[in-house]
Subunit: 244 residues, 2 copies
């Protein structure tokens, strides 16, 4: 406890975005190729530093969402994920990054074409494969983001954020199946989803054609917390290990 004038250290503040969507019935994450050092050429999450010292952190996340992903934050689920600030994670200095989780509906196919056009949707299993080179600690951030999405699918209406404003129950089921990496019984899923109060509401008498019998359309209901929650079937891979 010296009596000298001590001033607290300063850090560089960044935001990183885990943007998830459903394409080809697979969970995909948006990655960009880094054009500058460090980690030039490696894949990374969209993100960047605060533009100026007066910028709000959620605003920075929305700005990066538009600049690097070409996505409009309006009508897009965006929530804070966690903070990553281990010393040495960025060689440029002490960088503390606030990670955000964004969920994009499947519709906006063309992500590129905007400012930073070198962005690709990547299936999550590919992004997390051993041979994929990810910058910084972005691998861990992606893992955390996916786990957050998996968890929130149980207790919240987050699944509707993966869908267009109007969607069928089958589409909703595909969200659960892709994110949880399971297969669900359609009949039980129909029953369960419609019994949860305020989860989804019928969207007019409209219907939608594709191949078989037309499906009814729904939209997100008024409730964001699910009572009772959706139950995730136990994955066979989760064998319990007992730490001593």
């Amino acid at each position: 406890m010296g009596a000298d004038i001590w001033t607290p250290p300063t850090v560089l503040l960044a935001v990183d975005l885990v943007i998830l969507t459903l394409r080809d019935s697979r969970l995909q994450v948006l990655l960009v190729e880094r054009g500058i050092d460090p980690h030039r050429g490696a894949l990374a999450l969209p993100g960047g530093f605060l533009s100026d010292v007066t910028e709000d952190i959620p605003s920075a996340a929305e700005r990066e969402l538009a600049e690097e992903a070409g996505l409009d934050a309006a009508g897009l689920h965006l929530e804070q994920l966690s903070v990553y600030g281990t010393p040495g994670r960025d060689p440029r200095g002490r960088v503390v990054s606030v990670a955000y989780l964004a969920i994009a509906p499947r519709l906006p196919e063309p992500v590129a074409g905007t400012d930073a056009a070198n962005a690709w949707w990547t299936p999550t299993d590919v992004a997390l494969a051993d041979h994929t080179r990810l910058a910084f600690d972005h691998r861990q951030i992606i893992v955390d983001g996916i786990e957050r999405a998996r968890s929130k699918l149980e207790s919240s209406a987050l699944a509707t954020a993966f869908c267009s404003p109007e969607f069928t129950i089958t589409e909703l089921q595909q969200v659960y199946e892709a994110v949880w990496d399971v297969t669900l019984d359609p009949r039980n899923f129909y029953r369960k989803v419609q019994s949860v109060d305020g989860f989804i509401v019928p969207a007019g008498p409209t219907r939608k054609t594709e191949n078989g019998r037309p499906a009814r359309l729904f939209r997100a209901g008024p409730h964001t917390v699910l009572h009772p929650p959706m139950t995730r079937p136990p994955r066979p891979a989760d064998m319990a290990r007992t730490p001593a």
Copy 2:
């Protein structure tokens, strides 16, 4: 896209701690009285700036836990809560605070006596009462911390962190009742808690006396996620309206 040399802005990084415990069958939070401006004299969460630019953020949280609360981080649940960095939340500059949620077992009664002795356990309803003056945005941080604890009691074994290493089922029930602010049926609670795989395990043939029949002792089991989860009964305040 200017060609000028742009340097990202720097911010001051702080940690704040929401430390919850159970005292007198009530959920209580540790608050300190601020001795310096801004908000001198107001109540605040324990916390402070990073000590130096090389300090890890979790380490800073543990250091503040020891310095301001006199608690040892070992064997204490500590998890990151969220980040609070709205411009203007601190008049000294752009301060971004990483909030942590800590759960303390009921035993360590004397919190004071250490470096910063002006720390008190405060029932959460008192801390959040309208007449209580809380510094900065700490009211919101406390609300978020309590909600996190409430939520995690459902799906994780967090409740055991409120208890001594060995505890009775009744003590565990009091945790749920205090945090959720509900009353639970002891008989159903016994059945439920013991049926959840790996939640609690019997702790030897030991017993513990107090007033009536001795209670069996348990300790935390190997699993930290609960299958199936504990279900929180709907609070009477949430009157559901059933649309026709």
